[in-house]
Symmetry: C2
């Protein structure tokens, strides 16, 4: 019985993983439960033994990914790091999410509009808190003269959005090494913030 529970859990994992890939490729509304079932290898009706609804799949993908972002944000709240280092860590984290957990991260960033209440409000609130923490790091870096006096709000938008461009890296053969992508983006974005 313990085994059957584990089996069920891993089947649910499979469903979430395939759903994430399909939501990324075609978007949430354009992905049908029948397509998803076929990808998993069962009939559409059988999906409902593992999940409650199509919406629930989207919710699970988005909130577990958002949680990983929040965990990283809390982890860099250290007095030993200056604000340039914290910003660099944020850039590297988001680049790595986009490179290594492409489906989940892409779905969170692009498909959250299809969440229904109360999940929609929950998500946008979490995101507002997250970007405010990021802006606070940038504002602190500027006031301590570590960074140029740009608007923290605009710098935050620029950094977080840049990462979305890595979508095209995935789509176009990945000729450039992942590590090279990451280092170049850090160089460009941190370079635009530094004073010298």
């Amino acid at each position: 019985m313990a085994k059957s529970i584990r089996k069920k859990a891993s089947k649910k994992e499979l469903i979430l993983q395939r759903a994430s890939a399909m939501f990324r490729e075609k978007g949430f509304p354009a992905t049908s439960m029948r397509d998803l079932a076929e990808s998993v290898g069962i009939e559409a009706a059988s999906l409902y033994n593992h999940i409650q609804s199509k919406s629930e799949i989207l919710q699970e993908i988005i909130f577990r990914t958002a949680n990983d972002c929040n965990v990283h944000m809390d982890r860099i709240d250290l007095p030993s790091l200056n604000n340039i280092q914290k910003t660099e860590s944020l850039i590297r984290f988001h680049v790595q999410m986009m490179l290594n957990r492409f489906d989940d991260y892409y779905v969170m960033v692009n498909e959250w509009i299809h969440l229904t209440e109360p999940y929609l409000t929950n998500f946008t609130t979490q995101r507002r808190n997250y970007v405010q923490k990021m802006e606070a790091i940038l504002a602190d870096g500027i006031s301590k003269k570590e960074m140029k006096p740009v608007l923290p709000y605009v710098a935050m938008l620029t950094i977080l959005s840049s990462v979305r461009g890595l979508e095209f890296w995935h789509r176009s053969g990945k000729k450039v090494l992942a590590q090279t992508m990451e280092d170049n983006m850090v160089n460009h974005l941190i370079g635009g913030l530094k004073k010298n």
Copy 2:
């Protein structure tokens, strides 16, 4: 009769404009022809007196917007501009598209996946040409020592993607002035490319 033709044309314009707004808000697949008809103020069946299909609406929105981008790219191909100036002009153009023609530009950038063949291939080809021209400007700027030696490919991705972040500017009350947004983004992104 000339009048009725003009009337028809402007009604089609209205349909495209409302469709663009709805595709941006809810995405192409999640927007129904009945929703669109209601927004225009007619019955769903009546839409088909002005357009051929739902797909055609998406095609028109995307290709006319892509064309505006191509026109601007050709316009900055001047010997009087150095590569930093060309890059700055590109950044300002895309920021302005995102600020002033939000619906059309957003739909082009985010909903092109829902184009069907041959339009899908047509679009991705146009886009490949466009980004190659942009990379050529960056590569030339680097070889002439106007810019730091970043990878043109990565810098192009960073610049074009940053602009997408302005989506949140629209969503969050527009407290910052448009001109301030534009200048700050130019400062950050060009600052990350300059040598000094």
